[in-house]
Each structure stands twice: as structure tokens, then as C-alpha cells.
């Protein structure tokens, strides 16, 4: 039985993530935990995030989980969600500038004043709602998900990886940004698969079966 640990460092509700995983992987053992040992012994790790990046990193340090996240991100199937992928990069502009985990090269940047590239109309921030993700390459986690499927997003900052080879999915909102990044055993998405109906559930099912 595959053991999936959802890292709980006190930043909001992880119940939906757990329920969605239980729904697609009924035989997996799914735990929401901040226990170092449980995370180290898990077969797969989900790294979610909500709220602000400063609080996120502070809470990770508070629960003594920084090295555990790093270990998982390099060694086992690892899925970052929403604020998760932002924390994996080197630096975020949020909260006046925050040094992040530096697991992947790149920065997290504020959307700022946005206009639609065609109509010129002002775009709202946060980027909230269902937007398309264009898959840039085949990947086991995209399996069975139609090209340009819509996923649910809520964010005001976006991923700007330094290495374009990391980008496996991109989305348009005034311009084109990286909405999914991957490297080896790691896959991380800016959107919320647990709130993205069929497409999101398929991605989570793919993760539960993924053997990189």
C-alpha cells in the first residue's frame, strides 16, 4: 500500500487535498501530518501551501520540516500545490522579499498591473478562477488530461523559473506564465487540482500511480 503524506505546517485547510486523494486513490494510506518521521517514511509527498510565503516558510521552520521537504523533493514522488511550488524557488517578491527553499532555480513575481493582451482591459488580481493549462511536453502526470484543460487558480504571484526546461505547463493571463514545473521526481502546479473537478482528480490519480 502506497503511503502518501500531505505536509501540514498549519497553513490552512488540507482536508480538501486529502479527500480528493482518497477519492482517486482509495487503496492508498493518506495522512495529513507534520510528523518528520511520517514524512520521511512516506512513499509520496504532497507539499501544499496557502496564505503568504513568509508565514509558509516560518511555519515550515517552526515545525522543523525544512530538511524533510528538501529530502522528499529530491528523492521521492513529490507534488507541490499552489504556494508549494513558489516556496521551492529561490526568492519571492511577496512580503517585501523572502528567501525561499532554493530547491529549483528561479523567482516568484507579483502580477502587478495587468491588461488583457487583446482587449486591453484591466485584469483582476488575484488571478482567480478556471484557466487553461497548455502542456508543453508529455509527462506521466498529464496522462489522460486533454491539452489546454482548465484548472482552478487563485494567486497573485507567479512562478518565474530560471530554467525554461523546468516548465511543463503554461497559462495565459495578460502574458504567459509557468503554471506547472517539473524535474525528475518533482512535479509542482500553481493551480488547485483538488478543486479542479475531473481534470484535477486525474492529475492526482496520476500522481498516486507515478513511479519516476
Amino acid at each position: 500500500m502506497t503511503r502518501i503524506a500531505i505536509i501540514d505546517y498549519g497553513m490552512g485547510n488540507l482536508r480538501s487535498v486529502a479527500k480528493a486523494l482518497e477519492h482517486v486513490a482509495p487503496h492508498a494510506q493518506i495522512t495529513v501530518t507534520h510528523d518528520r518521521t511520517a514524512i520521511l517514511h512516506a512513499d509520496r509527498v504532497v507539499f501544499p501551501g496557502q496564505g503568504s510565503i513568509r508565514d509558509c516558510l516560518r511555519e515550515l521552520a517552526h515545525w522543523d520540516l525544512l530538511d524533510v521537504v528538501r529530502e522528499a523533493a529530491f528523492n521521492k514522488p513529490f507534488l507541490g500545490l499552489c504556494l508549494g511550488p513558489q516556496a521551492l524557488l529561490e526568492f519571492s517578491e511577496e512580503n517585501g522579499g523572502v528567501e525561499c527553499l532554493k530547491i529549483l532555480p528561479g523567482r516568484v513575481v507579483w502580477f502587478g498591473e495587468l491588461r488583457d493582451s487583446v482587449s486591453g482591459e484591466r485584469l483582476k488580481v488575484p488571478h482567480m478562477g478556471w484557466n487553461q493549462v497548455h502542456q508543453l511536453m508529455d509527462h506521466p502526470l498529464w496522462q489522460g488530461i486533454p491539452q489546454d484543460s482548465r484548472f482552478y487558480f487563485v494567486h497573485s504571484y507567479y512562478l518565474q523559473p530560471a530554467d525554461m526546461a523546468l516548465v511543463v505547463g503554461q497559462t495565459d493571463y495578460g502574458f504567459t506564465f509557468a503554471s506547472a514545473i517539473a524535474r525528475d521526481n518533482l512535479f509542482a502546479v500553481q493551480f488547485h487540482p483538488e478543486k479542479s473537478a475531473q481534470a484535477g482528480l486525474r492529475l492526482l490519480a496520476n500522481f498516486a500511480d507515478w513511479n519516476p
Binding site: 490552512g12 485547510n13 482536508r15 480538501s16 478562477g129 478556471w130 487553461q132 487558480f153 493571463y173
Partner: protein, 257 residues
């Protein structure tokens, strides 16, 4: 390619039961929030909003269980409003599986509550609900005021200024209801919707008065709303969510189909 405009059915819940009669064909239990939520998800609803209209605070705990049950089976965003007055109310709803809470009266009673909730839980999960009514004479320039108690009690607060202030305090979204139009089936107050949407940087959900599919499309195209919320036209199966989206697409609106 781009962000889809959202269609949001709104369900009134009283002591754990959906009220104002939802009339789907072949529904086993028209009052079961889980079954109704699942139907709307299957039809392609982009989000669901639950409004707790339970009068007694003793029965409020019931709403937490409703959210838990729905969130365990329906994997689209859920917003819960009605009776959210303390940080603990917010926390319990989010922990139960709500993605956002909608704050209305408590924000008027103490605006700092919105700031505290946004700082604690993040702007993305704090929706401020605004109930507004036109208070200008026909010859005057448009002006709307916030009303409470179902539109009966004026507050003297200007709706546009209030929306801006709530956004500064950390509201991640505005749920705007025209109390002049609510229940009339005459369409949104488009002038009000547009005034608020253009005044704030965050998404605005238009609500109140929907009677036809064109009303929904007008809310987006003319009111500049980012999402539209309706109750009766969906509940009474006058239109399915899919029909609604096809109609909006025909009018040039980007939707999730």
C-alpha cells in the same frame, strides 16, 4: 485562451437542508445539499456558494457538517456565507473544506474583522458580501448605499467606497447583490455592478435579479463582473449550467465547457 468567467449557483441552507425548493428532474431528495452540489458539479458549475440562513445560532454547527460532507465529494471551490462573525467561524468553515467564506454584516459592525481574517487566513479566502441599493433621485448621478437586514436597514455607507475599503483591508473578492433587483427577475443592476467592478482590483461576483440567460451575459459584458451568481433560474431547472454556458459562449464570453 484565458480565464473563464464563472457561473456560481447559490444554495440557501436552513438547519442543514437546502430550502427554496430545488427542482431537478429525478432527484431523490431535493433538500440534500450533497446531492444538489453533486448535480451542479456534473452540470459544470464553476463554484458553489452556500448561504446559511439558519436563524438560531445553536444550529450553526449543522452548517459545518454540511460543508464537510459536500467537500468530501464535490471537488470544485465552495464558498460559505451567513453567520460568519469571528475568526473562529472562519477557521471552522475552512477546516471543514470551504475554500472561501463570505462576510457581510460582521464587516459593517467591525471592518477590522476583515483585515484580521485576511491576515490570518489569506486574502484569497475572504469574500466580502455587499448588499447595495440605489439612493439617488433620477436626476442625480448614480449613488448606492449599503443596506443590512435584507435591504431594510440603511447604513449611510457608500457602496463604491465600501468596496474599495474592504479591498484595502484584504478582501480577495466582492460578492455584490443589488437589493433593488434581488428576487425581481429584472436582471442585475448593471450600472452598480460596473461601478464596483471598475473601482476595485479584485474579482467581483454579480448577484441579484437574474431572470434570463441574457441577464447573466449582460452582467459580464456590460456590468464587467468576473463571475455571476444566481439561485432560482438554476434551482427550478429553468436552465442547466451547461445551457447557460453555451449561451454565454454564443455571446462571446469565455467559459469552461
Amino acid at each position: 485562451m484565458g480565464l473563464a468567467k464563472r457561473i456560481i449557483p447559490c444554495l440557501d441552507v436552513d438547519r442543514g437542508r437546502v430550502v427554496k425548493g430545488v427542482k431537478f428532474v429525478e432527484i431523490r431528495d431535493a433538500g440534500d445539499p450533497v446531492e444538489i452540489a453533486r448535480r451542479y458539479d456534473e452540470q459544470g458549475a464553476d463554484e458553489l456558494t452556500f448561504l446559511d440562513i439558519t436563524a438560531s445560532s445553536d444550529d450553526r454547527e449543522t452548517m459545518v457538517h454540511v460543508v464537510e460532507q459536500v467537500a468530501a465529494e464535490v471537488f470544485i471551490p465552495l464558498t460559505v456565507g451567513g453567520g460568519i462573525r469571528t475568526l473562529d467561524d472562519v477557521r471552522r468553515m475552512l477546516n471543514a473544506g470551504a475554500d472561501k467564506v463570505s462576510i457581510n454584516t460582521a464587516a459593517i459592525a467591525r471592518p477590522e474583522f476583515v483585515r484580521e481574517a485576511a491576515e490570518r487566513f489569506g486574502n484569497q479566502c475572504i469574500v466580502v458580501a455587499i448588499d447595495a441599493k440605489a439612493v439617488h433621485a433620477e436626476s442625480e448621478s448614480p449613488h448606492w448605499e449599503i443596506f443590512t437586514h435584507g435591504g431594510r436597514r440603511p447604513t449611510g455607507i457608500d457602496a463604491v467606497e465600501w468596496a474599495q475599503r474592504m479591498t484595502e483591508y484584504g478582501a480577495g473578492e466582492i460578492l455584490l447583490t443589488s437589493m433593488d433587483r434581488d428576487g425581481t427577475k429584472r436582471g442585475f443592476d448593471l450600472e452598480l455592478t460596473r461601478a464596483i467592478s471598475e473601482a476595485v482590483s479584485v474579482p467581483v461576483i454579480a448577484s441579484g435579479g437574474v431572470g434570463t440567460l441574457d441577464h447573466l451575459a449582460d452582467g459580464i459584458l456590460l456590468g464587467k463582473a468576473d463571475a455571476v451568481l444566481a439561485a432560482s433560474i438554476f434551482h427550478f431547472a429553468e436552465y442547466t449550467i451547461e445551457q447557460t454556458k453555451r449561451h454565454m459562449q454564443d455571446r462571446g464570453i469565455e467559459v469552461r465547457l
